[in-house]
Amino acid sequence: MPLLSIRNLSVTFATASGPFKAVDGVDLAVEPGEVLGIVGESGSGKSVAMLGLMGLLPPSATVTADEIAFEGRDMRALGARQRRKIIGKDVAMIFQEPMSSLNPCFTVGHQIKESLKVHLGLDRSARKTRAVELLSQVGIPEPERRLSAFPHQLSGGMSQRVMIAMAMACNPKLLIADEPTTALDVTIQAQILDLLVDLQKSQGMAMILITHDMGVVAETAQRVVVQYAGQQVERQKVSTLFDHPHHPYTAALLSAIPERATGKRLPTIPGVVPGQGDRPNGCLFNPRCPRADDRCRTIVPPRQPASLGEALCHYPLEAVGEAA
């Protein structure tokens, strides 16, 4: 039984110019102990889908799904109170901007101990011991002194470590990391990624890693979901995705990485991700796709079988040869 199973998750925002579907029919199954990467450009709905799962979206958003089950329990049927017992304890999340995700008014120690108090009901001294333990686990020097530090006294890398310590406080079974290293420098990014992978292995927890950086996915994930304009366009194992992408969008995304380029010019994807007003008919990628024809422009593409990366495409790229 998968740890988390989501079927047909959609998120619609009520905006001034009518409803806008930011996430459209997302399916996810996360097994215990695996690392799943979700990749996409900005506006592809990768964060919104996970925020919808966590119940962190504003009231203007409507979340619908055929199934959201965590350890077999249907999250949709739970009340807000019971939902909060799972969220933050068994499912934890870390966010993109560590500097702005911590509350500037409280010390680091206070913020870590809060979830220990609410979820685990530890007493004061046990909370302190556990907080020190957590800070040293995430590699913060002098953890006892850092407990009374305020977020503005910490660097970006240190703040992200504190965020990870907070998320790890109740030994979650699933950690959702939303662009955990985007705001950080490369050497610090490498430290944080190593830390996340080490923790994930030693605790045996599952991790969903949201990122726009193909390199981060290549380094850490086992399975990858590629998202475009709210839809999952491809789902594959990381070991095969980089050599044999099946969806034209994945292929284009991979060849646009400067490091993989061979010539003086980079192969580009013309145009931009469609916004609210200009969603095309048929396949959402058709205006930017070199292989698009009339069928792509009128008929919504079907989901291909697993051997073709479950690509959402009429004409998926074949496994060998054609994937240029």
Binding site: I188, G215, F242, P258, V272
Partner: protein
């Protein structure tokens, strides 16, 4: 090829006030940076946040004058006192494109006004001529003529960066300082902008100073790379040499920290411990010594200078003494 920019021992010191009576603290953002840029080449400046690369950009574009040292741009010397009477001419030779295209354009100006402003200030062209030039420039950077009358908020990030590049090119500069021009953009848009920059460089024979923290982008665009750490250049080398054979331990760590783009390349990284030291209180000796696995007593007391090793200039005692693993002795 001749050098269009020559910097000698360039330093920038900021004074940070601590109170009425306390002595102000000195923050050395850039320290004794010496380098040259050849006409028509792309020099990339790489480093983590706080290493002084943006301060260097501000000195090069004459937004600030250096507190010490000497900068020669296109034959004109700029010292701590500024460039004197040549300042105006120089300013139109060197232009800058900023990192964040959302913050760099005035939201209350139409694109046409944004592009024409440099002409208004620096030339005596008539309104009709200015408009003609602005429209020609829009076409040059891949925008359409009808964009002339629109406001910045009507554009996507990539298009805004095109507008910022167009504005920088209005005065026909020779040197373009690009301060992280693609780091706020998505991969597919990033590729479009990098191609545009390459096209423009070929067509207009521009010299680029490309500031970035992303080594994979730098590998694609640069001819030569300068790696900075805590205000000082630690390695300057031609691109191919730097990527094939990085010498300074910091350069090696940076390269190995960059995520691989193939899952099978997942390798053992050089793990750098700790973070960038505070520039208020830099460590004695080599500023990289607290994080360096090869540091010895000499590194902790003396400061290494840039020395030539093969095709690269490196500031490291371990390289000088040939005790860095993976380097042939005769390179020293």
């Amino acid at each position: 090829m001749n050098a269009i920019v020559t910097a000698k021992d360039l330093s920038q010191i900021y004074e940070v006030k601590r109170g009425v009576f306390a002595k102000p603290l000195e923050l050395k953002a850039v320290k004794e940076a010496s380098f040259t840029v050849q006409e028509g080449e792309t020099l990339a400046i790489v480093g983590e946040s706080g290493c002084g690369k943006s301060t260097l950009a501000r000195i090069l574009t004459m937004i600030e004058s250096p507190s010490e040292g000497e900068l020669v741009i296109d034959g004109v010397t700029i010292a701590a006192s500024g460039a004197g009477s040549d300042a105006k001419r120089l300013r139109s030779i060197v232009q800058i494109v900023f990192q964040n295209p959302y913050g760099a354009l005035n939201p209350r100006q139409k694109v046409g006004a944004i592009l024409e402003e440099p002409l208004k200030i620096n030339t005596k062209l008539s309104a009709g001529e200015r408009r003609k030039k602005a429209e020609a420039m829009l076409a040059e950077v891949g925008l359409r003529p009808e964009h002339y009358g629109r406001y910045p908020h009507m554009f996507s990030g990539g298009q805004r960066q095109r507008i910022a590049i167009a504005r920088a090119l209005m005065l026909e500069p020779k040197i373009l300082v690009l301060d992280e021009p693609v780091s706020a953009l998505d991969v597919s848009i990033q590729a479009q902008i990098l191609n545009l920059l390459a096209d423009l460089q070929e067509r207009l024979n521009l010299t680029y100073i490309f500031i970035s923290h992303d080594l994979s982008v730098v590998k694609h665009v640069a001819n030569r790379v300068m790696v900075m750490y805590l205000g000082r250049p630690v390695e300057i080398a031609p691109k191919d040499v730097l990527y094939a054979e990085p010498k300074h331990p910091y350069t090696r760590a940076l390269l190995s920290a960059t995520p691989a783009t193939r899952p099978e390349d997942r390798g053992e990284r050089i793990r750098l411990t700790g973070e960038l030291p505070s520039p208020f209180n830099p460590p004695p000796g080599c500023s990289f010594n607290p994080r360096c696995p090869y540091a010895n007593d000499r590194c902790r007391s003396e400061r290494p200078l840039l020395k030539r090793h093969g095709a690269s200039d490196v500031a490291c005692f371990a390289v000088d003494e040939g005790r860095l693993p993976g380097l042939e002795k005769d390179a020293a």
